[in-house]
Structures are given as C-alpha cells and as structure tokens.
Amino acid sequence: MSQRSKVINTALLVVLCFALVGDAAPLKALIVDGQNNHNWKGTTPVMKKILDGTGLFKVDVATSPPKGQSLSSFKPDFAKYDVVLSNYNGADWPKETQDAFVEYVRSGGGLVIFHAANNSFRQWKEYNEIIGIRWGGNEKTGPYIRWRDGKVVRDMSPGGAGGHGPQHAFQVVIRNKKHPITRGLPEKWMHVKDELYAKLRGPAKNLTVLATAYADPKQRGTGEHEPILFTINYGKGRVFHTVLGHDAPQMECVGFIVTLQRGTEWAATGKVTQKVPEDFPSATEVRRWKDFTNPKPVISSGKETEMDELLEKVKTYDWGQSREPLTKLSDLVRKAYGSPAELRRIERSLVEVLRSEATRAGKQFICRKLSIIGTEESVPTLGAMLTKPKFSDMARYALERIPGAAVDEALRNALQQTTGKTKVGIINTLGQRHDNRAVRALRRLIRDSDPLTAGAAVAALGNIAGPRATRALAQAKDRATGKLRLLVCDAYLKCADELAAQGKKDQALAIYNELMKEPKPINIAALRGRINLLQKKDKK
C-alpha cells in the first residue's frame, strides 16, 4: 500500500470507525414550534417530511400554546431526544423549560436552529451562546461574523444585528469541506430565491463556519460574505444552524434539504452516514425536489432510474476500471434485501444484462449478485450460459447457490451438451447440490475416457450419497483400478459415513468391512469408521 493511500485510509477510518455498530433504532428528533412570525404551520410538516426522507429519524413535534397565552405548561422533555430542531420564534419559555433546554444541550444533546429561530429569546444569555449568532441585537450582543480573505473575521463595528434584502437566488460557497455535514458537497451551489440573512452577530463562541453567501449590494446586501451554515459546540452539545428556508417553497431547494438532513444527523450523532444525491444544484443552477423528497427512487418501472444508469455502466465494466458503479449497485441490492418484490424487480434487470452484449467482467459481477438473490426466474438465462465455455463457470457461480428443481434440471440438460472442463464443472455443481436425479447420468460418466470427468463424477456421487449413488459406487469399485479406484473408495466411504449417521449401522458396517481389504489409507479410514460405529453401539 502506498504511503499516500495509507494516510487517506487512516483519515477515512478515524471517521468511519465511529460510524460502526450504531443502534439500529431510529434517532429521536423533536421539532419545537407554536409561535413564529413565519409560517410555522406550513414549515414544520416540511421539516418532518425532509427528516423522514432519510429513514434515520423518528420525529415528534412539540407545539407551544399560541401567542399571548401562558407558556407555564410548555415543558417538552428534551432529554428524551437525540436532536431538537427549533422552528420557534416567540415568547420566552418558563425558566424551568429554559434550564432543561440548556442542560440538554450542555450534556450532549443535538440542536438545529432553523431560519427565524435565531430571532428569538434576545435576552436569554445561554441561548445566544448556544446558537452562536442571531438576528436582533447590537454590539453588546457580540461581533458580526464575516468571511474575509479566506478566514473568519469577528467584526466589532457598532450596529444592529440581522437584516436581508429582497429575496433572490444566490450562490452558497462551502468554506469547510472537511466537516461531516459538508464533506462531499459541491463547493459552490445555487440556492433558490430566498432571504439572505446578513449582519448576524452574537457571542460566536466555538463557532465553525461551514458555508457563506455573498450579500450582493445590488440586492441591497452588505457586500460581505455572510455565514449561511455554521455549527456551534456548547458543552458537549452540537448545534447546527441554517439561516435558509423562509417558507415551504424555499425548502424545496435540494441544497437546503440535504444540508438540513445532514446537519440534523450530525447534531444528533456527531457523524453523517447519508450519501450526497447526484442531482445536487450546480454552481449556477438551482435544483428543487417537489414534495421535498428525492424523486429518483431506487427502483421504478420507468427508465433512467439510478438502477438503470448503474446497469448501463456495469455492461461496459472491465477489470482494472473503477469499481464504483458495482459498489453502488451492490448497495441498491443490499437495500432491497428485506423486500422480495423489490428483489424480483432487481433480479429481472440483472438478468437483462446477462442477455445483453455486456463485458465478461460485467456479467461475472451480475452472476455474483444473482448467486445471492437469484430465483428460478433467472434459470433460463443462466442455463443457456452453462453450455458456453467462456460463461459456464460464472453461470454455475449463480446457479449452484440458487435453490429449486428447475436449477437441477437445467444443469442435467447442460451435462448432455458439454464436454471437457465445462462438463466437469457441471458435474461438480450437481454433486454439491446433492441431486439424486443426476445419479444415472453420473454413473455412466465414471467410465468416461477423460480421467478428470470420471473423477469428478465419482466425487459427485460421493457428495450425493443416498441409496442409488451408493449402489453406483459399489459397482464402480469392482471395475475401477489405479487412481480412480482410490477416488471411488473415498466416495464410497462417504456413503458409509452417511449411512452410519442415519443409523443404518449394518449397511455401513458392511461397506467398512468391504473397504478394510483395500490398501492404505482406505483401510485406515474403514477401520476408523468401524471403531466409531462399534463404540457407538457399546454406549447404547
């Protein structure tokens, strides 16, 4: 391994190791809402839908009493959750709730601050430390946080906190590519028409800027690169803060959805296991997911699904090339393990590749997949490959593991149509499958002029065992000489062991006695079989 790849691996592992052996149980998320100068009734269901799209979270919602009513009864049990998302911008919570909230974050709870949630609780000191920077305040609140000349600048100029120009589409620039939330995202991507929060200020302790956007003076902006996505560490707690998402239409942006999903997972666990979708917005073009979910499902009946694209790549895959499409396809197959219907659909598309002009390497890969998920539905195609020397081994790789009488029948048919090594392979697979119905064909092959074929037939009969195979071997022993005789005796011994295991002691003993007349090492094995059998008798 090169030094470079070692370094990369180590870096990768340090991160990945933490990702191992997570609890299979979903992460518990709580969205807090109830008061907001924004459309919280519209955005909370969207947040929930976005989180549901990851399959990682179980989402609850805690809604406070409406504006003007007493909040004394509002006591969400923060401690029960892995992550809390605030969509709240309203009246102060009771002291007890505030304390519980601070204690929750301090002791390691995850928090996501969404858009106008950073407008609330201006006087609450700990809250401002938790969220880093805010809308509403002045120089006493803390510095402005700006990105200048490639670094974060804490700007203590006097002035108000928070503001935005008219809504417009703007480019988001990732400033920290190594953070779990932003790793793998394109460096620059267009956000849909939205408010560009500017002039946020606050204590900004332990704040890490992940992404900024340039507040263009043409859009009545500050001319500064304003923090758009950032994190704060408070005690043991992790906070992800996104200023994007004024209302539901703004939340259709794939960039918003993905960063919210990743940011929430990071806040909950400190890691991100989600993959970056392929249709992320580019540096110049926005990308929306209507309905807030990835419109490219794993499998669909239509064309141009992820699966179809990958299968096209598999068709041209060759050894030495990037394995990435194969890995991705394997992921899709693995995801479908629990769903027989999905697996059948996948099986059909895999079989299509075998029928196409795909490369040998591509077809071999498909056969490996079918060896695990294949059914009798694959048999006609795989069976046709059995008689072609170049493809027979890979077809057997799949068929040998697929259950069902149709497989045995296909193998027996192919046996008659093949010669040499191809035939030997089929004989071996029939033996591995213990196909009793192959005995008649196999016993004829013991006399084949090719020693490899004869030897394989003998071994297959030993693996099949059973009365008919045992009889065939008993007869073959009397005729066989030389090396083949040793193989026949070995297979015959297996039949005796099988009989002994089934409690048919007299029959087993008869074979052992017969084989004790053979030369070493068959006689040793026969003697051992005898002793074992008699010891067993004594015990009874």
């Binding site: 790849s5 050894w319 030495g320 890995t327 030997v424 297959a460 070995d490 297996k494």
Partner: protein
Amino acid sequence: MAKKTISRRQFLRKAAAGSIGVVGFPYFVPSSALGKAGNVAASPAPAAGVGASNRIVMGCIGVGGMGSGNMRGFLGKKEVQVVAVCDVDKGRRDRAKKTVDDRYKNNDCKAYLDFREVVERTDIDALSLALPDQWHAIPAVMAARAGKDMYAEKPLARTIREGRAICDAVHRYSRVWQTGSQQRSGGNFHRACELVRNGRIGKVHKVEVGLPTGGSTGNRPVQPVPEGLDWDFWLGPAPWRPYCDFGRDRCHYQWRWIMDYSGGQLTDWAGHHIDIAHWGLGLERTGPVEIEGRGVYPRDGLYDVPMAYKFTCKYDNGIVMTVANNKQIPQGTKWYGETGWVYVKRGKLEADPPSVLQEKIGPNEIKLYKSNDHKQNFLDCIRSRKLTIAPVEVGHRSISVALLGEIAMLLGRKLKWNPEKEIFLNDEQANRMLSRPMRSPWHL
C-alpha cells in the same frame, strides 16, 4: 438440500469428539493398530545418502512468505527430511529447492508446479501447506485421502463448508493436523487461557478481540502474466480474472485484501486472537448462536475486504464475544469476568486485579495442553498419533467466527446460527454464502 451431508458431518464430528475427551489419548485409531509410527515406519528411505528410515518425509506446498518460513523451520528439525517443494511461481519453487538442497548439500529436492504430484508421492508422510485461502481446502482434502499428515496455515478455509470438508477428510482418514495458529505454542497465551479457564477472574461474561485494521488501494491495470507464474493455477477454484500486480511481489502477498481469496485482516488474524479467545473460554468446538455487526468496505479500487469492522457473537451460554479492528478494540484478546479481566497479546499479559497474574494453577485444576514449539508438537504427534495443540476442528471453529461475521456484515443483518448443524436459521440468503461455487475443474 444439504440435510444428509449435515448428518454425516455430525457423525464424523461426534465420532471424533468421542475419542478425544482426554488430551493425549490416542484418537480415532489406536496407534498400535497401525504400527507405532503409522505411515512413517513404512516409508522408504527418502533421498539417497540421507535416509534414516525413521525420518519424517515432508513436502512443502506453497513456498512464499509463510510457506518458506515454515519450510525453513522444518529443515531445522533433525527428524525431518524435506524432499519436495511446490509453487505455481517458478522463481519461488526454484529458490525453495535451492534452500533445501543447500541444507542437505545435495541436489535431491524435487520442485513441482502441480501440488497433485506431491500429494501422490507415496514416500511422503507429511505436508506443509501455505497457500492463499481459496486454495486451502482442495489440497488438504486430497492429501488426507492420500494418507498425509499436515501442518497447514491458518485460516483453516475460505468458507465454512470448505472448513468442514477439511475436518471431515482429516477425521475420516485419521490424519494428524496442526493449524498454523502458533500463538498456542508460545508467549503468554497458554498462561492467560489457563487463568481464565480456572476461574481466576470469576465467571466470564464477555470477551473482546482486536485484530488489525485493513486498507484500500487504487484500481490496477490488467497486465500480462509475468514470466514463470501459472496464473490460472494460482486462481484455482476462485472466479477467473485477468492478471494484475496486487501491489507487492506480484500476486503473492496482497491477495489478502481481495474477497475472492481472503477475508482480509479479519480472517487472517482470526486464527490467532479468536482462536485464543475460544481456548480461554473452552468453546473451541462449538460456535456462536447469534452474530451481528457492520463493516466498512472500500468503495473503489482493487481491494474489497473490510477496512474497519465490528461484530458481536452471542454464545449459547450467554457469553458475548466482540470482534473488531484494532482502532475500535485494542489488538489481542481480553476476557471480562465477574471479578476482573485478563488481557493478552503478543508480548503482553495484563490482568485486573494484577494479583491474578501471580496465581498458581493447582494440581487438580484444568491444565491446558502445553507446547513450546508448534512445529515440534506436530512432528511429535505424527509419531505418537495424538492430537496436536491446534487440531483441525478447533482451527475450523476459530475461523468460523470470522466467516460468520463476514457474512453478517455483508448482509447487514443479525443472523442466528446453529453451531451443531452449521446452518443459519431462517435465512436462506445467508445459507447460500456458506460455500462458494468453484471454477472448473476444481472441486471437493
């Protein structure tokens, strides 16, 4: 479909277990029934000019890194005569022949490409096997059938079914087998296991096993097969692929990171620290009943075995074994009991409380099999026909843990295992992965 063979396996195994209840008791066939030294006495004088007829005549199949190391070990034993070396790479077999001939100061050692010719030699008593994992089962089964005793490198086999086939053949033909799990014959491992077995940390409830961490590499271009290498033979039963350099010394070392030939660091090291964990627990002849875990695999590049891995195995008696790479669990074996723990790895033995290490094992307590020299133990057993310190069933059960973990991680779900019948319960896909179809003409 495999019902019969399962019962046959059980028969062979039970029969085997029945006669090895006491360490040192001659197993399967009394040696008197075969003549004191079994095959040995009957051997013709090996090489002219050397041959005391009571020497153990050996062939070495696979003479790469481990194989030539083992060969040199046997060359240093005065009771051994090495007469054959075998490798599919001409450079290696020529080098090995030279080593042997230099040692004996003659030109008598024969070099082979095809192991079957070595197995067929009737003058050979014992074989040293050190091959890539896909090549473990076939030569071992053939050699047992030819009446050879074997010193064979771990892991026992690439699949659980192949491992069972080796066990069956070794039992069937009453062969002496030593798995190359040499930790059993050295260092602090014996002591650690004896402390745990005799309850010095109370009843054990869990054990942690740390094994090395894997890595990845780039994609490597297909290349012409190098001079002197029989690539088709090297692949053997594994699926065909064109030759490429695996990253060091042709294909000869880094095959360990490719799933067709190995399970990576996990299966490479299972024969050591999992083996020791089983020894200390007295669970050497059974296996877990539940396996669950996750692996992190390279997403691209030539290597495809897990870099990081962690899985847990529950045993029938409630003991939980966790196996992981050494970034998650420190390398070695650590047993946790009611009153403390014992931790052992190469060059280290620790305990809590430390006083445990001062404990003496009394005359009426469990005394584990003692060997100070793994190869010598094998040679002694060839003569005595007794069980070695790392017999075949035990080697099979050690690697089975890693192979079960491999399947559970590949499938990404919890699996239930019947260690007696060696099948998964209610998991058809998992059961498919217990064996691998072999490329023609190879078979068991």
